[in-house]
């Protein structure tokens, strides 16, 4: 039956099913549904119909359509009946003012060119159903993007919403990768990167994963709803802690006059305007940053930072000696 397998025919069948189940005032038996929906009537066998109906039912529920099963009495035995209650289906008529619709438009646009562009667009259209046109000019000059080009985003969001454990290959730069088993707790975009927070069940502790470091396919590895997210889980704080987990330290730097401007903005200058005290968390990050100034910035203290900068400069110098290999 090629005709019922093409996507347009399937959309038509699903649409007919939705309308039929919304229209009915009492639950409909499978047999009755098969009579009403033409594409089911044309199914070549009982088996083919059953399979098709089961799948369709699941897919409608996945779309968030509240398709319910209610017992109906048929002679001696009860049998399952199906319907969609309009009160559970329909969006309540909420009135949005035009400035509210404008801000919703801006919010929906942040997802353009990303995995969630579809749902964001549909959501906006639904909310704009009832009349009022938005003041689109209001935010015409603002563009914010929550880009999610990472292929892992879609499957992880789905797993997170269903509270379903996942498994994926993960590798930090310069490290051998490994497969992680994770119960997703949260997805967070920070500084332009998406992070997954969750319980790494292999390591038995909460961990943060950067989506761009997931090196392969995300697969589910457990039942939906098989865990709960701890009530006190705060993904933003957890990511911040990880990013700046080390103790705060203080560096003393000597700057060449007029240089190191980005550092001056972050540090505290002493009596000598070219000696700067700069708080830092990560010695490796700061050493790299300071090395980029070459001779314009010299570390006076601490010694470990001095050594780290010298090591970076030495490696950079060595790598650039002579003609390229």
């Amino acid at each position: 039956m090629p005709a019922t397998n093409n996507p347009a025919a399937k959309t038509e069948r699903l649409m007919n099913l939705v309308m039929t189940l919304l229209y009915t005032r009492r639950p409909l038996s499978r047999a009755r549904i098969r009579e009403i929906v033409e594409q089911y009537r044309l199914a070549p066998s009982d088996d083919a119909f059953e399979r098709m109906f089961e799948r369709d039912k699941d897919e409608l529920r996945e779309l968030g359509i509240p398709l319910v099963t209610e017992e109906i009495s048929a002679g001696w035995e009860d049998e399952p009946g199906y319907r969609i209650h309009h009160r559970d289906y329909a969006l309540p008529q909420i009135h949005f003012d035009s400035d509210e619709l404008a801000v919703l438009g801006l919010a929906a646009r942040t997802w353009s060119h990303a995995t969630l562009a579809g749902p964001a667009g549909t959501a906006l259209r639904k909310l704009r159903t009832f009349g009022v046109e938005a003041d689109d000019e209001a935010f015409a000059f603002i563009e914010a993007r929550l880009g999610t080009s990472e292929p892992a985003f879609g499957p992880l969001l789905e797993a997170l919403l269903a509270l379903r454990p996942v498994r994926f290959p993960y590798a930090r730069p310069g490290e051998e990768g490994s497969t992680r088993e994770v119960r997703p707790w949260g997805l967070t975009s920070q500084s332009g990167h998406w992070y997954l927070t969750g319980l790494d069940t292999g390591r038995g502790e909460p961990r943060v994963f950067r989506l761009s470091r997931i090196t392969g396919k995300v697969t589910t590895s457990g039942k939906a709803g098989s865990y709960a997210v701890p009530a006190d889980h705060d993904p933003v704080a957890m990511i911040r802690r990880r990013r700046s987990g080390r103790e705060l330290d203080l560096a003393r730097l000597r700057l060449r006059p007029g240089s190191g401007n980005a550092l001056r903005a972050r540090g505290i200058a002493g009596e000598d305007a070219d000696v700067l005290e700069l708080p830092f968390h990560d010695i490796r990050d700061l050493a790299q940053e300071l090395a980029s100034y070459g001779a314009s910035v010299v570390v006076e203290e601490p010694a470990a930072l001095r050594e780290a900068v010298i090591a970076v400069l030495a490696a950079s110098a060595a790598a650039h000696q002579g003609a390229p290999a």
Partner: protein, 322 residues
């Protein structure tokens, strides 16, 4: 669109399009397509499909669609005349973005955002309460609220701004007048895009590098030659006077090839070799310096020699080498 769109995704779209059209009976088909963000051909396909659907097989049970005179009239669609409640993913896209915008103070009026969020809660199918998943985005990059606010103000009033702006690649503070074009958040940072009278070109200014901003009482309409950039590929754009740079990226520095638009990439024994065009080699020089041999300039030779000399000078400043 219909070509790649799955059957259920299309159903979902149709279920949101029908109520929208029913509330705009007689709308011009071209206008509807534009507003709905589909091509007119796709919309016609959609309407044709709807014409075949109903709550039963009889003619009077089917949706009636007319496009006479290019105007869309839909009847007998009462069962689906109200949109489906927002799904969790749909509600989530909007609430996450609204909360992120609320966090980036100065960009949009936070009282409007609050009101909108409250109404959105009513529209969502189910609230994500205790033990539910957390999805959040942070659009606050630490740039001062006052800077964002003044940029938004200058944009809405069409005024020029004066900036004192830090250029870390050159390690200098600069003064410039800018006609604002857009306030853009990209990869977690806020930028002002505008016509820079000093560079006589369109420029992106990172707001966390703005040391001072004043809204001038001068008309800020950018000249006609000012064109906003397509930011899909990121903030870096190749210009006509560019230098071609070849870099060896050792393992762990592969991100450089993903972060900047590159011309080519070939695997090398120790990583990969990439070629890219840059308007200014300053940032490449500094990247090579800080990478400790992770990013190695292969060409042009002057740039390579410059990195070697600067790294040596740095060591000398510590009393080493020479």
């Amino acid at each position: 669109m219909s070509g790649q769109e799955g059957a259920t995704a299309r159903l979902s779209r149709l279920l949101s399009i029908v109520p929208w059209l029913v509330n705009r009976q007689g709308i011009d088909i071209g206008e509807a397509a534009r507003e709905l963000g589909v091509s007119e051909g796709d919309l016609r396909d959609d309407l044709e499909l709807l014409f075949m659907c109903g709550y039963g097989p009889m003619t009077d049970e089917l949706i009636d669609v007319s496009t006479e005179g290019g105007r869309i009239v839909i009847s007998n669609a009462d069962t689906i005349a109200a949109p489906l409640r927002l799904t969790r993913a749909e509600a989530l896209t909007l609430t996450v973005a609204l909360r992120a915008l609320r966090g980036a103070e100065g960009v949009a009026d936070s009282t409007v955002i609050e009101r909108t969020l409250a109404k959105l809660d009513e529209a969502a199918a189910s609230a994500s309460g205790q033990g539910g998943p957390r999805v959040a985005a942070v659009l606050d990059d630490g740039s001062p609220e006052s800077v964002r606010g003044r940029v938004a103000e200058a944009l809405s009033r069409g005024r020029r701004v004066h900036l004192r702006y830090l250029v870390p690649a050159r390690d200098e503070s600069t003064e410039r007048d800018v006609d604002p074009m857009r306030l853009v958040s990209l990869d977690g940072r806020w930028y002002l895009e505008g016509w820079c009278h000093r560079a006589e070109d369109t420029r992106l200014f990172r707001l966390d590098r703005v040391e001072e901003i004043r809204v001038l009482d001068i008309d800020g309409t950018p000249p006609e030659v000012a064109v906003a950039r397509d930011l899909s590929a990121g903030t870096f754009v190749a210009g006509p006077n560019d230098h071609v740079v070849t870099l060896l990226l050792r393992r762990g520095w592969d991100w450089v090839g993903e972060y900047y638009p590159i011309e080519s990439a070939v695997p090398a024994p120790e990583g990969s070799t990439i070629t890219l065009r840059v308007g200014d080699t300053e940032w490449v020089r500094r990247l090579a310096l800080r990478s400790g041999g992770g990013v190695v300039v292969q060409g042009p030779p002057e740039l390579r020699a410059r990195v070697a000399a600067d790294a040596e000078a740095g060591r000398t400043a510590y009393g080493l080498g020479g």
